[in-house]
Amino acid sequence: MQASGVELAGINCLFGQTPAIRDIDLMVPKGEFLALVGPSGAGKTTLLRVIAGLEPGYTGRLSIGTRDVTRVPARERNIGFVFQSYALFGHMSVKENVAFGLRVRPWRRRPARHVIAQRVRELLELVQVAHLANRRPGQLSGGQRQRVALARALAIEPELLLLDEPFGALDPLVRKDIRSWLRGLHDRLGLTSILVTHDQGEAIEVADRIALLRDGALEQVGTPEQLDRHPVNAFVHQFLGESVRFEATVRDGRAIPHLLEASAIPVALPDGPAVISIRPYEIGLRGGEGAGTVLFARRIGAFTRYEIDISGRVIEALAPAIDVPLSPGARCTLDLSRAHVFGVAA
């Protein structure tokens, strides 16, 4: 299967007067699994539809492989698209759904009848629903429909596979299963895939790289590790996992969190307002004196979960369960030295 990269240059897309996609430059190399994440309304699906050619009113340049497809209609882009709703054809059997993309080809490029039948059989085996070939989509479960939708998209040997929240309608257990299976399939077939999801955990688990969108613009693109270790701003840090946020002021190379002056941390930022963002498990707790009061403590597996009151504000912290536990009512100091500090442009 010929898989090629995708390149987006200066893509803009308007919905009426409001920009839905703003100045997106993105390069997805051949064979990569990219996850497009962001809060709802960030433009993830719109961007996916632009790439597929289903959103006609955009500007910029778009190429798939070596081919400039900016002005190429959807049906000639050779893209596999799996819709959130699966969009299976209800009046066709599973077999006919998968064969559709081959049957509608102009006769010169259309494979012979038995070749199509053979290919459909292979694909249904590949997605593990061969025994359902003669069923109707209405008779399938969500997970089965998803597999059929995927088989249908793969039937045309797409250069690029686009997946719009394909796991959204599945229950969590099936979801996890199908996710790792999909990743395996991607590697086996050497596909280039772009997955839209609002679930950062899903993206971290399945993708080579993550592109984080906010308000139609790209915030950061990188491997899950890069995004976790070196987030470019507080939004990226907060989106990728649970975090606790403190407003702070930078003075003389130290970021001083409000209400927590004792927890100041050294930073290389100019003086001015800043934001401190830290994962609950990165907060260091020391009993004794301090600005925090333990309200609640409960051991959950390998961690002890604390609720800590800081002058009326309650934050959450996770400490290794092997540490000496603090009891409710105890005073504590908070060590924020592992936090990320972001300057706030005035």
């Binding site: 049906r75 819709f83 054809f89 559709f100 509608v104 039937a155 045309i156």
Partner: protein, 312 residues
């Protein structure tokens, strides 16, 4: 007399209509306590079933049975003679033939209209949507007189047509116009909701799979709305067979040429030939019933209806 009696509604899961689907263990409802038919969300299952049966018996079956019994009073030979008169045969042929053609025309035009309203959404589509139902509201005689005036030799449409050598009023073409007028709303009303509910993603999926617009229309959209189209055709046809008021003014009513069967019934009634009138009525009833049953069979066999009995 209108034969467009809708198929009696089926209340809840009747024992005969509930067959478990092989190979599909999900959604098999557990037997409800003391019902024997499985559970139903409608309270008063027996009551509603009773009312339905009583309703169908009293208002549909009883009058039809009376109609069916009437023409035999002079014996079968007489009945045969009464029906095989050239005038009766011509009237029946005319009624069924024009109704069939008109329903076909309505199906094509109604599909176009429904498509325009649902997908093209021209400015003022809401008004268009409302206007479509007007033939329902208009007394059929008013419609008939209006059409006859319009298409008559001096009418706004009839005069230019007459100039071109085309005669519409007082011919079979006139009957067709009246039937299309009253039949069109049935097709639009049965098709429009289905078109509105058809997800755009189906078309988009077909596009990404390489289908051209014509292929999308024929292979994806048409099969999905075909059951609704067949229903609309059936309703328009049944209405057309029994249509009286709007037709008699524009038809000219010449025996053997443009005399429709319902009119012949009225004529026989005026001649106190009650059995003869009932005979024609019986044939129309049987014909319409046959066609409606055939259409519902066709509908059930359409690909879009496969698996429709199963909930999603």
């Amino acid at each position: 007399m209108t034969l467009a009696s809708p198929a009696p509604p089926r209340p809840g899961p009747l024992a005969t209509s509930f067959e478990p689907v092989p190979g599909r263990p999900r959604h098999v409802p557990p037997a409800g306590p003391g019902k024997g038919h499985g559970p139903t969300v409608i309270p008063g299952y027996r009551l509603s079933l009773g009312i339905t049966i009583a309703w169908v018996s009293l208002l549909v079956l009883l009058p039809l049975a009376a109609l069916a019994a009437r023409p035999w009073e002079h014996g079968a030979g007489w009945l045969w003679h009464s029906l095989t008169q050239e005038r009766a045969l011509a009237a029946l042929r005319l009624s069924f033939g024009t109704a069939f053609l008109a329903a076909s025309l309505c199906t094509v035009a109604g599909l176009l209209l429904a498509w325009t309203i649902a997908r093209v959404r021209p400015a003022g589509w809401r008004l268009l949507d409302a206007i479509i139902d007007l033939p329902f509201a208009l007394p059929t005689a008013v419609a008939g007189i209006t059409l006859a005036t319009l298409y008559g030799r001096h009418g706004w449409v009839g005069a230019p047509l007459a100039g071109a050598g085309i005669k519409v009023a007082y011919t079979q073409a006139g009957i067709m116009i009246a039937l299309v007028f009253v039949g069109l709303p049935f097709v639009v009303r049965s098709t429009l909701p289905v078109l509105n509910d058809l997800p755009h993603e189906l078309e988009e999926a077909a596009q990404t799979l390489g289908a051209r617009p014509g292929q999308i229309a024929l292979r994806v959209l048409l099969p999905a709305i075909l059951p609704a189209l067949v229903t609309g055709f059936g309703l328009a046809f049944a209405r057309g067979v029994g249509e009286y008021g709007s037709v008699i003014f524009i038809a000219g009513n010449r025996p053997l040429v443009s005399e429709i069967a319902p009119l012949l019934i009225v004529i026989r009634l005026q001649q106190f030939d009650y059995a003869g009138a009932a005979a024609i009525g019986l044939v129309m009833l049987l014909g319409a019933a046959l066609i409606l049953v055939a259409l519902s069979l066709v509908r059930a066999l359409l690909p879009a209806m496969a698996g429709a009995r199963q909930p999603l």
